[in-house]
Structures are given as structure tokens and as C-alpha cells.
Symmetry: C2
Subunit: 376 residues, 2 copies
Amino acid sequence: MTRRLSDVSAPARLASPGEGLGADELALAARNHGLPLEAMRYDLTPPGLHYVLTHYDIPHLPDDPDRRLTVNGRVRRPLSLSLEELRAHPCVTTRVTMECAGNGRALLTPRPVSQPWLVEAVGTAEWTGVPLRLLLTEAGVEPDAVDVVFTGADHGVERGVEQDYQRGLPLHVALGEEPEVLVAHAMNGAPLPPQHGSPLRLVVPGWYGMAHVKWLREITVVDTAFTGFQQSVAYRLRQVPEEEGEPVTRIAPRALLIPPGFPDFMSRTRVVSAGPVTLEGRAWSGRAPVTSVEVSTDDGLTWRSAVLEPGRGHRWAWRRWSFTWPAAPGDHVLSVRAHDGVGNSQPLQQPWNRGGFANNLVQRVPVFCPDPADMT
Amino acid sequence: MTRRLSDVSAPARLASPGEGLGADELALAARNHGLPLEAMRYDLTPPGLHYVLTHYDIPHLPDDPDRRLTVNGRVRRPLSLSLEELRAHPCVTTRVTMECAGNGRALLTPRPVSQPWLVEAVGTAEWTGVPLRLLLTEAGVEPDAVDVVFTGADHGVERGVEQDYQRGLPLHVALGEEPEVLVAHAMNGAPLPPQHGSPLRLVVPGWYGMAHVKWLREITVVDTAFTGFQQSVAYRLRQVPEEEGEPVTRIAPRALLIPPGFPDFMSRTRVVSAGPVTLEGRAWSGRAPVTSVEVSTDDGLTWRSAVLEPGRGHRWAWRRWSFTWPAAPGDHVLSVRAHDGVGNSQPLQQPWNRGGFANNLVQRVPVFCPDPADMT
């Protein structure tokens, strides 16, 4: 019997109890990558350390004066802009902490089978681009507009559906100023690297990564709610497959700590010396500014306040926090949790949904502090 | 009972039959990363796409005029050089394809439990630095010198042994011109990124990655063979743990192809349209120049010659190859293999050792070509 496309592209599934990571998950883990947590020491993540997730292949879009970004659909004056024409528009630069919606997925029980992130799918960059609302105003949005659809140049098949990667935003978000959505052409002052969407990507500060469409080639204003695969099938919060589910949107609060001391190569267990240890890390929320950060050094039993540094005007970027821990010999589990200004905080019990999305369970970092008498 | 350092740092082991990837392997896969294979289209791997493996944490070594690279041990005039003083020496720039010694490990049966690479632990960069032999000549190597030991600033524990990462080279290799070993301070014309060894790393063209010591801080000439952990315990070719084993040194030949068509997100199965498909990729060997590349489109049953592009003077860099494949509807497995000038080639049966090192088994890329009559 002849095979069809749907035969090589399976439905989503959950791992069985005790099922180790499969070859498919490893293939994703080997090509995508997280932020090594010690790189949280940098306000801006150095090139190559920012998390990367690409659904399909990284498209190759070399400099080409004929390449156009189009703005079309329910607009009075469709636009077709070369990269040079786009860059000639007024630009802004915004510091943004971006996080994958699937961050934390591989720690869930049962584990949704997909890109197996632990907690490191995050990074912070300064994105320079043209505010989307300027482009939409230039094009003249028709009064019946509902959503704005963004199409990337990346092409693949997912659960049987062949597609260019597409996501939509409600019109009021696309035109909004809090956050201000950008069509970005630079990352940390340089042209976008291939894996971050060269030459153009959408940046939606405060939203999970799936909204920041890379390799952006078309912006379409539509008069009905967008129901493409990445909007209505993927990136929904569901307990059972039949549910319509809630859409994944803004980033839930999260704090992470830089694992202190030094690691064992294989187990990644941390080893610290007895005495005062400065714990530090970052905290962020796409829903409201982070208002406080707490640290636990006894596996979540008790919590104490960390020192949270001011945001310095970077509303959409992570903030540094620190805490001095008097490490005593023995085994410890360190955790940290963030609270934001509208009452969101991080749960101690896993929030679970079938996609493993928007999971902000507190981080657990096992640390071993040897008895000085045992050290040679 | 009090735990000791060796309790959190286990011996090497092999995965049981059918054992999926564990949390420890995933923790390594999430922080290290390979080259997305489509990035082989670039002669020089763009920043952030070159493979990265760090044993421990990435050290933070900010600019500091007091930081020194020392050259000491069995030398007549020990050196202590600031970065600026090092840069004032004569420099060369060499294009180097670097590959992790553990590339391919996760495909082995049984699977050595360690960083779980598939085939993508590779990348090509131009490294600028001072030839090591100039520094050794400046320091004046004593006649009883045997090995040169390189110490990085990265610190951790591995199989119970706390250590700074250290590797040695025989004196004749350290002083050699084929390859010419570099103390590199620039990668692709820019200062080294943190994850590639900032501010200094060793580059040993043609050798597997473990020799290219990152965060290099000390060079020590010794009068006995170096027997540090990464020389005598790790990075040896062994069938059983008791064996002394052969050292891992130069890169065995390998060719890889860019998976054609487009992928399924989860299975990574490739989908191509029927008709002529240009297959392309790269081939390299650290042992001798690559002399030919062959392609199989029937899972290794038959092989035909690919077109191999000239090396253009870059002896230590990969070379592009291409092949036109008339894709017919159905399922196919594509493979490619390289042969080098001293008779090495890639095996069709897995070469196995307990560390999963220097494994250059041919790549297998399953491809599905739908029947045009089935396409909507």
C-alpha cells in the first residue's frame, strides 16, 4: 500500500511511565539548544547562547534586492518592502527576554513527546526593528479586520499538515504599544543570524517564542479569527485532545538560578564549598513586572526574599536577583520563585497540559556540599 | 554516612538494551548543541551554529590586563603574557573543521552514556592565533621535554576526579607544522565567544575537539608522558574498562549530507518531491585529504561517485560535494561516505568502543517521496 504524507507525521503523544527519551526527541534536542544557565550572568545573552527552537529547517535567505516583505489582506494600500525600504522606516530597540512555550516540558509527568526542554529555553537580546503598528497604519487597516497573520519562510509537515509556519495576533495586540510589536532586522546591533530569523522576524515582547515568527515574509490582515495549525491545533492548553483549549500567549513568571559551585560532568550535580555562597539568577514575567523573588535552600519547605535589582526601564527583560546562602556540609536542593505585579507566581506542583506549554514549575537544583574534613 | 565527592560522580557506563535516553544525557544535550545539518551549506559555520561541547561550566573570564597566559615547566625562559602581548606576536589564520570525538555516540549499540550526539557535532571556523611553536621556541624547550600540557580555566569533577580540564600533546606535535597548532584569540575575525574559549583556546587542526583546550591559561612542558584524566582515563579507545586503550587523536574521515526536502517536525523524516534532487554536503578527514565521496540512495547497497569540490588550499577544512538524485516515489535511505588519501574510509558496520569515540559510521537519512497522484 502506498504511504501518504500523514504516515510519516504522527499525532502528538505522551510518553509512557518510565519511558526514556526517544530518538525523535533526541534529534530535536541535538539541533535546538537552550541557554547554559551560567550564561544568565550576562544582561544580554552572547550570540550562540540564546535558546533556539526551529520547527523545520533553518531557511537560507541570502541578501537579495528582489526579496520583499508584503503587507496585504484587509488593507487599503498593500505594501511590498525591500529590506532596505523597511530599514528606512523609524526603528526602535527593545530588550526582550524570550522563552519557549515548551520550556520545562521534559520535566513533566507524563511527558509530552516534543522538543524536550528542561528549564533552559530562554535568552535575552536587544531587538531593533520597525513597530508593526507603523506598517499597519501605512497600509491602512480596513474596519472589518480581526486578526493579523504572520507567515515565515520555514516549511515542513507537522501531525500530517504541510505548512509554512504561521501565527496570528488579534488586531489590538498587533496595533498595541504595551507591548510594542516589532518587525526586527537586528539582534544585539547586528543583522539577524540565520537561526534567529534572518533577515526579518516578528518580536512580540512578553509573549512566548511561538509568536515571534522568524524568516517573516508576509503580513496578512484578515477579517476572521485565524485558525491555522500553530494557532488552533498546536500551542493550546488542553487536558484532553478533544478540547478546544486556551491559547498560549504571554509568558508566566519564572525565576532561575545559576547553579553554584562546579558540576559533575555526567550527573550535572553541583558541588559547593561550605561557607557563604552568593546565589544569583534572573526573573521575568510577560504578564506584569516581577515584584519579588524568593529562594529556598531546603527543597521548597521554607522561603526567604532575594534582593531583586531594579528593571532599569527594560520592562520586557529579565531582572537580576541575588541571595547569600550559608552552605553547610550535606545535600541540599535549591529553588527560586518569582511573583509578578498581577498576582501570578510559580507553582510548587507541576501545572500540566498535553502540550507541556507555559509550565513554570519552580526549578530544583541539587547541590552537594562536602564535609571539609573529607576533602583531600 | 557522610557522602563524598565520588558519590555524586559515577563511573562510565553503557545503556541497557532498549534503555531510552536518561535525564543526565538530556541535561547535556540541552546545554550543548550540534550543527543543524542544513547549516553545512555555509563554508564557514555562522556564529551560534558551530557545535559546542563544554565538560563543565563556561568560565567567565572578562577582559583583565592582569590575566596571563603562562608557558612554564621544562623551558629555559618561562613566559607570562597578557592578551595584548600575545596578540602582538605573529599570527596566522587557519580554516578548521572541528568535530567532537564523541560524534555519533548516541547511535551506537550498546550506547555509551555520555553527551548523546547523533552525527551533528561538527563545525568549521577560521581561527586566528599565534603558532604554538613560536611560543615554545621563545620559551626555549629543554632537551628532556616529552609532552606539552594545556590547562583550561574550566573546573569540575568527572568519575570522581576533581580537575581543571587538561590535555597534553607530544612535543613533536606541539612543535609541528602539519598541522600547525595555534593559540587562538579570534574566531571568524572576532574575539572568541565565551562558549568557544574566550579569551584563548588551543586549536589543533585535524584533531578531534578534546585537543582544542578552551579557556587556555597555562602551557607546561613536561619531561614525562602526561597521564591526566582527559588523556589516560577519558578519550581512549577501549573494548573493556581494564584496557589501557589507544588514545583518540586525529579525525577519521566522514561525509555528511544536508537532508533534502523538508522535515516532519517530530520524526524529522524528510519529504522530497519526485524528480531530480540535488544532494549536497561536506566531507573531511584529519588524517589525510579526502580523495573521493560516494553516495548511496538504496541504504548502502550500491554506491556512486559524488562531485567533490577542490579544497582551495584549506587542508584542514571540509570540502563540499554534490550529487544529483532522480527521486522516485517511495521510501529511500540516503547515505554518503568519504575516503581519504591514506586509505581510511567510513564503515557500514558500526565501529564500537566503550567511550563511543572516533565513530564514523555512515550517515543514514530516511526520505519519503510521496506519489504525485496522492498529493492534494
